[in-house]
């Protein structure tokens, strides 16, 4: 088992009332799964993804990741865990504008303190694998949306995470680019990477092996 959520609650206090963002979420994810999270706007999809990705906290419940109880871990330990096993893909790519494609790919490795030669070979491999060697010295602004997202995924994958969290990865792309990205996810999944994606599109959801529907912070 890769991760397990038990009775997760998350809320904010607004005008004296408690508004639940996540309500009693139970979820277990096995390695190698490809899960699509669906639901209308404001149903808590992204919040759930952020909680799983340890970018956001929750108020109640238990979360274990690779049998480590995340809710009791110290900040630093949690950061290490997530640095090592989780990669993020965003709707608006979120590449670092001041860095070239190559440098963007290198960044997570630097944070993981990977040695220089290993870093270089990993970057070269990844560029090769995603067919973007020719783009390695370009800045994000010089790439199309699809290409940027490709770099975004490449960056998420470069430190070989067990889990990829994708928040509407095709939301800013046209249908052809979107299809290519989804095909890529499918291929990655078949290579053993666990993927959780948030999506609005029924079509994209079908790429996954399991669909979770959310409404008002509840799993339905």
């Amino acid at each position: 088992m890769l991760l397990k959520l038990n009775n997760i609650f998350k809320w904010v206090n607004s005008g004296g009332q408690r508004v639940f963002l996540l309500k009693d979420i139970n979820l277990s994810v096995e390695e190698g799964e490809f899960i699509s999270v669906m639901g209308p706007s404001g149903s808590g999809k992204s919040t759930l993804l952020n909680v799983i990705g340890m970018l956001d906290n929750f108020d109640e419940g238990e979360y274990s990741f690779l049998d480590e109880p995340v809710h009791t871990l110290k900040e630093k330990h949690r950061a290490n865990l997530y640095k090592q096993y989780i990669g993020f893909v965003f709707q608006s790519y979120h590449l670092l504008d001041d860095l070239t494609v190559q440098e963007n790919l290198e960044m997570p490795l630097l944070y993981k303190k990977v040695g220089s030669s290993e870093r270089k070979s990993l970057v070269a491999d990844t560029l090769d694998r995603f067919n973007i060697v020719g783009k390695k010295d370009l800045f994000p602004a010089q790439l199309s949306g699809g290409q940027q997202q490709l770099v975004g995924i490449a960056r998420a994958l470069i430190s070989s995470p067990k889990l990829i969290l994708a928040d509407e990865p095709t939301g800013n792309l046209n249908s052809k680019q979107g299809e290519e990205i989804m095909e890529l996810f499918k291929q990655l999944n078949s290579e053993g990477v666990t993927i959780i994606q948030v999506t609005h599109s029924e079509k994209n959801a079908t790429y996954g092996s399991r669909i979770i529907n959310l409404l008002d912070g509840r799993k339905i």
């Binding site: 992204s46 952020n50 990705g53 970018l55 956001d56 630093k76 950061a79 997530y82 640095k83 990669g87 993020f88 965003f90 608006s92 979120h94 590449l95 670092l96 504008d97 001041d98 860095l99 440098e103 290198e106 960044m107 997570p108 630097l110 944070y111 993981k112 303190k113 960056r155 998420a156 430190s159």
Partner: protein, 800 residues
């Protein structure tokens, strides 16, 4: 990782050139000011550092009390030497009597120059550890010897060998050059000692000095000492403090206190108030030190403000970095690296600015500071300075930016909260508080100088020159020279006096007069003058009459000034006598007061005029000729004629003269220097603050682009938008003014109290400063505000 930090920092700076220019430029200016002030302070505190034994050197000082006011100074009587040598020899390694720094004509072949130097006892070169370039260190043993500084030797002999050559001094006697010593540097109390001659030589040529050997009342000499190795200054002072009082009854009533004034205090802590040491130039060291720190702080504030103002742009980056595994300390390091890079750039620019402006600064501050290229300590402290500044400027943005939560900023809903701008506002207030306080301070310094300059001096100082007449050659020539000068038509009146117009060189006491209060210990300025003194200077007689050659009895006449009338408590002074009450030596004849003259400022223009006597010069004691130039010709024409006449009669002497108004102007030099320097620093402080404000407005305008667009669509005019943007900043500056005005009032009021003759602090000075700050703010803000207000709303709304 470090390399990566720098790469990112570099690109970030490069991609935001405007922001970088403001940041680096402002910081460079601030650092340049701090560096220059640092060099200046270093120069000040290393004054006298030339002497290797400076910690052991001291001058013997004396405090005496007249009428409950204690005066302190370096003048001591001759018998003190015997007393200290006989009774306290253990305390001293060297003890050297010295003359004042006096000017002498030195003549070799047909070359004659006027230089200043001291007559000192033979241990002086050893005690001061002068660096001997040629000849012997023990060069004052022979009565007829002279030691010359390198530049004087060069001026006289050029490439010739100076040792063994004979010089003529004041056309009076011959001396032989025994040694040449390295010039004493500019920042040294002995800088003006351009030659040294034996003390005994001076005594041999001056009758009055011989007579002073047993006179405890004649305080006309100086004494320098090097204390013994195993003793402290305090211990020596403790031992000798009452030596004069114990040995001499006559002067005991003035409670003479003899003490050592250590060399390390001469320059920076040379003021005495009622017998106690009371600071001195050290206050300017502190003042400029504080200014330096503040200017740097202003520049650092710019950096902090601009960095945090850009936070919304950087927020996304922080979010991404955190989401791909960065920890907070990575980000802190990254932002510190960025600030280090900026500061390093700024430092190099600052060094360039300093090098370019050092000459101008030296002119302004009367210094000879050079850039310390080869000084290791300078570079090490510079590095420390860079790191310190980088930390100071970078820590707040680093901590602030790195604290963003990735979820918030990546969602795109990030808005800095209501109070996120608060620290920024506080910093702007701080900046303008400093600037406004600087403005007020500078205006007050300038005003005070003007106030003192406009004070009536009591004579006409324009078109008046003085010629020094120290040489023996002038003896008995006064009447001849006067008629020659008057005949030349360059001069309309001329007199001679025993001290220059702008100084008091002699003070007397020991008089009796009708109505003198019991036990009154008078202290009167004493100037001996020829009968034309009042006329040539253009002084005003307020009562009685001027000297006249018609009355033979005027040789025992005296003029007193207005202050003296009040001081001595004489009613109807005309016709009263001043009797010399010295019973031991033969008393001079009584002096008859024939007139009262208007007070004339001779010493400090900030002090009340001292009570003074102008006595008929019977003995030809003149030190200066005072020449009133012919107003119908140009000064240069007059001077040319005077020089020709002078050379006819004194072909061997160099023609030297000073304009009295220039000499008077020198009294303001120190304050004017302070005024100009603080003016320059204030201007820079304001410039730096405005740079920051400019940058800040542009960010605010950018941040509010959408708001401005919406407002314009709803019908806001350019003026509406402009006032909306300006109002915020004006509010901050107003708060600054409220803080700055009381602080400046308090500080400057304290400063003015140091000057007995000072201006009143008026409200308009503060109003002016406040108005100035407001105007500058409005102008700075308007640049951006008007641009933002004129932008096309359709454009700004579409980009959203």
């Amino acid at each position: 990782m470090i390399k990566n930090f720098f790469k990112i920092a570099w690109r970030n700076l490069w991609n935001n050139k405007g922001y970088t220019a403001i940041n680096v430029g402002g910081l460079a200016l601030g650092m340049a000011v701090t560096l220059i002030i640092g060099l200046w302070i270093q120069d000040e505190i290393s004054h006298n550092g030339y002497f290797s034994k400076k910690d052991k050197l001291a001058q013997v000082f004396q405090s005496q009390t007249f009428n409950e006011t204690t005066g302190t100074g370096p003048a001591i009587p001759r018998p003190l030497e015997r007393a200290l040598r006989d009774g306290y020899a253990d305390n001293f390694k060297h003890l050297v009597m010295s003359s004042w720094n006096i000017s002498r004509y030195l003549k070799y072949k047909d070359k004659s120059i006027s230089k200043t130097g001291n007559f000192m006892q033979s241990e002086a070169p050893e005690m001061l550890d002068l660096k001997i370039l040629k000849g012997e260190k023990d060069g004052l043993r022979e009565l007829n010897s002279v030691m010359l500084s390198e530049s004087v030797a060069y001026a006289l002999f050029g490439e010739e060998e100076p040792i063994g050559k004979t010089l003529q001094v004041n056309n009076q006697y011959d001396v032989t050059v025994s040694a040449v010593y390295e010039d004493i540097p500019f920042n040294n109390s002995f800088h003006d000692v351009e030659f040294l001659m034996p003390w005994d030589k001076l005594i041999a040529t001056q009758e009055w000095m011989k007579n002073a050997i047993d006179n405890w009342g004649n305080n006309s000499f100086q004494m320098f000492v090097q204390i013994a190795d195993n003793i402290t200054m305090e211990k020596v002072t403790e031992a000798i403090i009452n030596v004069k009082k114990d040995l001499n009854e006559d002067t005991a009533e003035f409670n003479p206190q003899i003490f050592l004034f250590p060399m390390k205090d001469w320059y920076l802590r040379g003021n005495f108030e009622n017998g106690r040491q009371s600071g001195g130039r050290i206050k300017y060291v502190w003042l400029f030190g504080i200014i330096g720190v503040f200017v740097l702080l202003l520049a650092c504030i710019n950096f902090m403000n601009l960095s945090t103002a850009r936070s919304e742009k950087r927020a996304k980056e922080v979010g991404i970095r955190k989401s791909i595994g960065s920890q907070r300390n990575h980000l802190i390091n990254q932002f510190l690296c960025e600030s280090f890079l900026v500061v390093l750039f700024a430092f190099f620019m600052a060094v360039v600015i300093v090098i370019m402006s050092l000459n101008g600064f030296n002119d302004l501050s009367k210094k000879e500071i050079s850039f310390p290229w080869t000084n290791g300590i300078f570079w090490i402290s510079s590095l420390a300075f860079i790191l310190f500044t980088a930390l100071l400027a970078g820590s707040y943005p680093a901590l602030y930016l790195s604290s963003f939560k990735p979820v918030d900023v990546l969602k795109g809903t990030f808005k800095s909260g209501r109070y996120a701008g608060l620290p920024r506002k506080i910093l702007v207030v701080l900046q303008f508080t400093v600037s406004v306080a600087f403005i007020i301070g500078t205006v007050i310094v300038m005003q005070q100088i003007n106030h003192a300059k406009n004070r009536p001096v009591g004579y006409n100082k324009e078109g008046l020159i003085q010629i020094p007449t120290f040489s023996q050659d002038f003896e008995g020539k006064y009447d001849l020279m006067r008629s020659e000068f008057l005949n030349s038509a360059a001069v309309i009146e001329m007199s001679a006096s025993s001290s220059p117009t702008t100084r008091i060189w002699s003070n007397r006491s020991g008089f009796d007069w009708e109505g003198k209060p019991e036990g009154f210990q008078e202290d009167l300025a004493w100037t001996e003058v020829t009968p034309e003194y009042v006329k040539s200077l253009g002084m005003k007689i307020v009562e009685g009459r001027d000297f006249s050659r018609e009355f033979a009895t005027d040789s025992n006449a005296v003029l007193i000034n207005r202050t003296a009338v009040k001081y001595m408590g004489i009613k109807d002074p005309i016709g009263k006598f001043l009797k010399d009450n010295d019973e031991e030596e033969d008393p001079g004849p009584p002096l008859k007061i024939i007139g009262v003259v208007e007070d004339m400022i001779t010493e400090s223009p900030y002090e009340p005029v001292k009570q003074g006597l102008y006595v008929f010069d019977k003995h030809g004691n003149s030190s200066y000729y005072n020449l009133r130039l012919n107003p119908n010709q140009s000064a240069s024409q007059n001077i040319a004629i005077i020089e020709r006449v002078f050379k006819e009669h004194f072909p061997d002497l160099p023609f030297e003269y000073d304009f009295v108004d220039d000499e008077y102007g020198k009294k303001f030099a120190s304050e004017e220097r302070i005024g100009t320097l603080s003016g320059v620093f204030t201007a820079l402080a304001i410039l730096i603050s405005c740079l920051g404000l400019f940058g800040l407005t542009s960010f605010v305008a950018e941040q509010r682009t959408k708001e401005i667009g919406v407002r314009k669509v709803l019908g806001a005019t350019v003026f509406n938008v402009w006032s909306m943007l300006s109002k915020d900043f004006l509010k901050l500056v107003t708060i600054s003014c409220f803080i700055a005005v009381p602080i400046a009032y308090y500080v400057m009021n304290g400063w003015l109290q140091d000057y007995p003759y000072h201006m009143l602090l008026e409200w308009w000075i503060f109003a002016l400063a406040v108005f100035g700050a407001m105007t500058v703010t409005v102008i700075t803000v308007s640049f951006q505000a008007i641009k933002a207000a004129n932008s096309n709303p359709v454009k700004s709304l579409r980009t959203e």
